[in-house]
Every structure is written in structure tokens, then in C-alpha cells.
Symmetry: C2
């Protein structure tokens, strides 16, 4: 066992305490009222990075700041950029949390808190792995640039300009991102693809104000009913999307079928994890195909009229939906945005006005597997878990991954430690303590191997 | 001018002040937290009835109490039952009110407050007309029973049992209800029909908790999308309802076309009043036909997933809609409830569970025009407004009207003083001061004529 690994094992309880501090700050990027918390989090994180022996700096953006960690004490060695985000999703609905979202608590070997797995826990794991190597050996095996952003959950709008403006400073040979998951407990996983995203808000306006549904019902169109018709028009009876041109750039599923068949998978286990009465979705595709390599159109939110207790006979003046498309290679978010807006326009009847707001988008991504980065990752994961990793798609989106490749010209590795059922964007989000621990070792080992001749 | 009319004119400012007191109590029957306000309102009203010279009593029910006023000092004369309700709709969305809903304010000759026109203002008008006659003449021209309930806005569930249990005590020759409107300012109106109601809540459950729309999207059905498909299935492209059997009991529109053609009406004026970009609804029917004699299926509320600021990529575990049907003669709410539940069941795919809650129902109604009651009403309205009334349908529901006819065996008169655009169930509800004043005179004059030999 290396001195670094020993240091990790000895300091694990302390690392966990520090992670709890990190998780207690409600760094919700979507909510203006949490702006001070975002700044507090950035400063706290910069302090941790300094404590690990790196130089830390906080960089203002048009939105929330980017926190940078740098160590360039290994001339001639590779430079590894580690990316993570310190912002989290909103925690609503609060009443469904077993313990409060910003009061971390360990139950059954899991750390429960908003941001535990997505992504503060995984980001912090790298910070502590760096600290362990520094404390154990007095130096790092490679040059390191750590980039922690505060806007991943709201679209990373200001990170791309930051990358572009600092491309020289951030220049790296490899990029490592831990913001994804493993396919099952005990099965280390390397990400082979990501879905992209095109997120919209659809607002339907009818009457100038809410009307009495008796006195006016039948006289004017009901915006809530119209909204439902628009949403219903997104799919046919087979749950195949009907937006014209939607599938034109989708790669044939046949390309992925073999890799997917090698992933340990059980539909019934997955169904239980979701809690749904049955799995479902686009006909003709297996579950993992639907999640990894088929695009979706999902409703993320609906609001109209009276939603309180009891009944109110109101004809609402307004109805709102949040709708997002998960995109797969080689769909282009900009094109999908255009097609979506055109579809909604075609479905809009006279008698209402419909506005589509394009909220944000991200490109889908495919890993270029192979080379030193992927070999080192496989070795590091094998060392930590005692078995070879599998290569798995990821249904979620990390739009910044394509941007790293484009701006820095370096390959990206997705090495994530979440687990199925982790509730990343839902109440009772959790991160397995075992994965926090093994991830610390894997992170340290990855850098070690990338620094070896 | 009669002494009663003179008394009304002299005391109008004082009556208005008292009405403001009435309107200040937030008597929202739908909200458990307003239960004490409901009791306070009932007691305040009983005090007013006593002040008018009638005996007052408060009758507990399984829900909110019924307030009774009685005066039986005219043996040999007819007994007139006057009905109104002291409960109001919830005031949400509060931010759309120009002045707070429970702080009445006069602007441009209108009393703005929740309940001003529906129905506290109209109920109070009768109380003050009774007081005026009593003060001016020392007695009433007929026997009077005043019934004020506190559950009209939540379905009048406990009024029917109350009527049935007290049928002997409430026995009346005529029933007068002022909870409707006039077709236009200056055009006194007698109601010829009411729509009934069948109100539902539809709950769709999918995953056990909210899921990450990336990691799970495509794997399970989205309950919000399913809910929208169910709602979209309620109508065809012509906005004709597709619920099987829905129109089987609807009377042919031809029966009403002539009466409707006599009503002063301007589609563009109505459109402006609604604020909708265009009128719309079931193809093949004129606006007043759609509102008065054609049934509807309306969405009254929608809620699912994330509805706050920004974006959240959540696959919601639950989606809810409030949906109601306005019914026309001779549709039966019980049958429509069955048909609705069957339709939703047929539209429910595997992968979600759907629950339909039947919230409440009310029968549609048609007036049996003619006889002393309708002659007296026409005379009273003519005296107050200087012109003949028109006979108009009403798109809203007053389910209790059919019950009065059934239980008491007496004809019901709908003599209402609301106006188009009054925002009865919406923010900025108002009641025209002119109609409050003329309604006072009409109410007093109606009793006078019903008491005449």
C-alpha cells in the first residue's frame, strides 16, 4: 500500500467531516436568494484547495464564480485538469426528504444530502486525494489544474467563455470529470457517452385574468387544455417523438447494442429502483438503449390555475410547462431547439398565445476510448475495486464535456462514482460512503499512473 | 317613491359601510385555516339579520353552518325564501389583485373585494332591503325565510340534508336566488337556465420519487406527459368532447336559439372582456350557445415537478390536474362522473397509476318561466331599471337551485346583479355600486308585489 493510500485510510473520518461542512452550505445556483451562499461555498472550497497544497483563486463571471486550483511543480510531466461543480439542484419538494437536504447524515452507509453525489462529494474526493498525495509525498506526480464551477445545474453558461478566455492557462493533456455514476454497486464504470440537453419553458396565455369556468367556460380556449394538447403532440402512441426531424441525426442503435449487452443489468431491479409500476417508453428499444442512446422529450414541470386543496372552478389565464429533450450523438441542440419551436408553433391554435423560452442546451458526447488516459483509468479503478471497469453510456448531460474537448483539445475521461437510485435531482440524494473511499484511492492512483513514465 | 325606497336612498352610504365589514372577513370555505373566519362571518350575519328585524339562528352542519332568518308576521300572505351564500372562493393568485382581496375599495363605481358580487354583496342587498321595508313600514309585505349557507363554493354538500331535515320549517311559495348576473350594464336579467357541474381531481403517479430526467428519462413513463395525454384526449380537433356518451342527454341547441338571439350581445365586446386573443371553443355553436347550453370539459389546475424559477431536469413522480365539466339540461352529474372515470381508465397506459377523485357535482337547471313569481320579478326589475328584463342562460352552476325545487316544491327565481367581467372567481372581483343600489330597490319591490293581492 502506498503512503498516499495509507494517508487516505487514516484521514477518512476527518475527510468526511469536512465534506459535511461543504454540504451544509446551500449552494443552489438556480435561486437568486442563494447568491451569498454561492460565494461562501466558493471561498470555503478555495480554502480547502489551498489546504491541499495547491494555489487557489476565485474568478468572477457574469454568474457564479469559478474556483481554480493549480499546481505546476512537475515540469516535463503531464497536466491533468480535474473538473467538478460546487453548485447543487434546488431541494424542493422539501417535505419528501427524510433528513433536511442541507444537514448531511449517514444512514446505512450512505451520505444523505443535496449535492452529496452531484457533485460536491465527487469534487471534494479529488481535492482530498490531491491533499493526501501532497501530505504523503510532498508533491504531486503530475501538474494539476482543478476547475470547480458554480453553474453546472443551470447550464454552465459562463464556463465556456471562461475556458476560452483562459485556454492557455488551463491547457492540459487530460481532463477528468467525476460527475456520473457506476452501473451497479461494486462495478467500476467508465463513461462512453453522454446525452445532451435542450431545455425549454412553454408559456400559454389565454384570458387576460383567471375567469369563472362557468360564466366563461366554452367561450374561450383554456390555456391549460391547450398546453396539454401541445405536450401530448410530442409523442405518438409508441412514445416515439413526433417533432419533425427530431431523429434525423441520431446514430443507429446497432452501434451500441454490443457494448450495452455486456453491462450487468436487470430490468426488474431497475424498475424497483425507480418505484414505477412498470417500465415504459419508446417501443422497440431495450431500457438501456432508451436511456443511453435514444433521445427523449420529457415534461419537467407543469403549473396552471388552482392547485391547492379542494376545488376552484377557475378557467386559468395562463399555463406553464418546463420541457426538456435529452439528446444523443449526433443531435445538435441548436437544430433541436429550432425544430421544437417550430413544432409548438404548428400546434398553437387561434385563441391563445404561446411563448417558448429556450433555457439552455448541451451537446451529446461520445468518448474516444483508448490511449494513456483510458488505460490509466482502467488501472486505477481495477486497483481500487479489484475488478475491470465496464464502459457505459450515461443518460444525463454534462454539456461542458464537449466544450473541454473543443477548447482544450484534450481527451476527457468520465470516471464517476454515483450509484443507481442515488436521487441526484430528487429528495433524499445520497452518495455511498464506500464509493467516496474507493474513489479517493482511484483518484490518487489515476494521477500516479498518468505521471509514470 | 315609497317610504321603503326613500329609506334605501337615505341609508345607502351606511349600507355600503356595513357591506365592507362583511367583505373584510375572509370567509373562504375551501381552506381549513379559515374555519374560525367562517364562524365569525355566520355570527356577524346573524347579527345583521336580527338588526333587520327578523329572527336569526345559526345551524351547525357537518361543514360550515347555515344562517337562518325568519319573519312570519304576515299570515295569509305568501312565504318567500331568499337564498344566498356567505362563503367565498380562495383569493389566489394574490399578487394579481390591485387592492388586497379582503380590504374592499371603491374604484370607478365598483366595489372591489373577494365576495363583493359572489355572493356576499348580493346576499347583503336582500338583508338591507328587508331592513328598509321593516324600518319604513314596521312590517314586511310577505313572510320571509332567509337561508345563507357557507359552502356554496365547495359544493353545498351539507345544505341539501339541511333542507330535507327542515323542509317543513323552510316551506315557501317562492324561492329567490341572487347569485348570478345581468347580460350587460343596464339590462336587468332573469335567469332561464344554469349549467351543472361535475368536478374531478386526476392524480397520476409514476416513479416512487422524483428522478433525474437524464439518468432515468426514457426508462419509465413520465406522469406529467401521461396526464397531458389524458387531458388532450377529452376533446377532438373541433373542441367537441370525446368522452363516450357525454352528449347523450344534452337538449338540442335549437330549443334555445331564439331566446339567445334576443339577448343584446357582441362577440368582440365579450372577447375584450375576457382578454383572450380570440374567442374559441366547440365548432358549430355561437358563443352564448357554447356558454349557456353546451357542456364543457375544462382544466382548472395543473401541477407537476419543478415549477420555480430557472430549470430543473427532473422526471416528476406525480402529476395532478383539477378538471371539471359544466353540464347542461338534461345531463345527469352522476352519469357524467361514471363516463369520465371510465374514459380516464381507458386512457391510462401501463407504467403509471391514475386515480380520479370525484370532488362534487350539481345538476343543470331550466326555469319554468311564467306565473306570479316571474311577473313580480319582471315588474320589480322594470321599476328599478326602467326597462323590461331579458331572459338569459347562465354558464355557471348553482346546484342548490334544483334541490330547492325538489325539496320545497316551489319555483325558483334567479334574479342576479353581477355584470360581465366581474371576476367572480378571479383576482379583482367587483360588484357595481349601481347594481347594489338598484338591486336593493328591486328586492324590496319584488316582495311588495308578491305580497299584493
Amino acid at each position: 500500500m502506498s503512503r498516499t493510500d495509507a494517508y487516505i485510510d487514516q484521514n477518512l473520518p476527518h475527510f468526511q467531516e469536512e465534506l459535511f461542512e461543504f454540504l451544509r452550505i446551500p449552494s443552489i445556483s438556480a435561486k437568486p436568494e442563494n447568491k451569498p451562499d454561492m460565494l461562501r461555498t466558493a471561498e470555503w472550497l478555495a480554502g480547502q484547495i489551498r489546504g491541499a497544497g495547491l494555489e487557489a483563486s476565485i474568478h468572477e463571471t457574469a454568474g457564479h464564480p469559478v474556483v481554480l486550483g493549480e499546481w505546476r511543480g512537475a515540469p516535463g510531466k503531464a497536466t491533468v485538469l480535474v473538473y467538478g461543480h460546487y453548485d447543487v439542484q434546488p431541494a424542493e419538494p422539501l417535505e419528501l426528504w427524510t433528513s433536511p437536504p442541507f444537514e448531511p447524515e449517514v444512514r446505512d452507509g450512505r451520505i444523505y444530502a443535496r449535492g452529496s453525489v452531484d457533485d460536491k462529494g465527487q469534487l471534494f474526493m479529488h481535492v482530498k486525494a490531491l491533499q493526501a498525495r501532497m501530505e504523503a509525498e510532498g508533491r504531486l506526480p503530475v501538474n494539476v489544474v482543478l476547475v470547480a464551477e458554480g453553474e453546472e445545474e443551470i447550464g454552465s453558461d459562463n464556463l465556456v467563455p471562461f475556458l476560452e478566455q483562459n485556454a492557455e492557462r488551463l491547457k492540459a493533456d487530460y481532463v477528468v470529470v467525476s460527475d456520473s455514476g457506476m452501473v451497479a454497486p461494486g462495478v467500476p464504470t467508465i463513461g462512453s457517452s453522454l446525452r445532451g440537453l435542450a431545455y425549454f419553458q412553454v408559456d400559454v396565455d389565454g384570458p387576460g385574468s383567471d375567469l369563472h369556468s362557468g360564466s366563461y367556460g366554452g367561450g374561450v380556449l383554456n390555456p391549460a387544455t391547450v398546453l396539454c394538447r401541445i405536450i401530448a403532440s410530442f409523442h405518438d402512441e409508441s412514445w416515439h417523438a413526433t417533432i419533425k426531424g427530431f431523429y434525423d441525426q441520431v446514430r443507429p442503435v446497432e452501434e451500441s447494442r454490443e457494448a450495452i449487452s455486456r453491462v450487468p443489468w436487470d430490468d426488474e431491479h431497475f424498475r424497483q429502483e425507480t418505484g414505477s409500476p412498470a417500465l415504459g417508453g419508446e417501443k422497440g428499444f431495450a431500457t438501456l438503449e432508451r436511456i443511453w442512446v435514444r433521445p427523449t422529450v420529457e415534461v419537467n414541470g407543469l403549473l396552471s390555475g388552482y392547485t391547492g386543496e379542494g376545488s376552484k372552478t377557475v378557467l386559468p389565464s395562463h399555463a406553464m410547462a418546463k420541457v426538456s429533450c435529452r439528446l444523443v450523438p449526433d443531435q445538435d441542440p441548436a437544430l433541436i431547439q429550432t425544430l421544437f419551436v417550430e413544432h409548438v408553433k404548428r400546434m398553437t391554435p387561434e385563441g391563445v398565445t404561446v411563448k417558448v423560452t429556450i433555457m439552455h442546451g448541451g451537446k451529446p458526447w461520445r468518448a474516444q476510448l483508448g490511449g494513456k488516459l483510458y488505460e490509466a483509468a482502467a488501472g486505477a479503478l481495477r486497483a481500487a475495486w479489484g475488478r475491470d471497469p465496464v464502459y457505459a453510456g450515461e443518460g444525463g448531460s454534462i454539456p461542458i464535456v464537449s466544450d473541454f474537448e473543443r477548447v482544450l483539445g484534450a481527451p476527457v475521461l468520465l470516471m464517476g462514482f454515483g450509484l443507481p437510485g442515488e436521487n441526484a435531482h430528487a429528495p433524499d440524494e445520497w452518495f455511498a460512503l464506500e464509493n467516496f473511499e474507493k474513489g479517493l484511492h482511484a483518484s490518487a492512483s489515476l494521477l500516479e499512473q498518468l505521471g509514470a513514465e
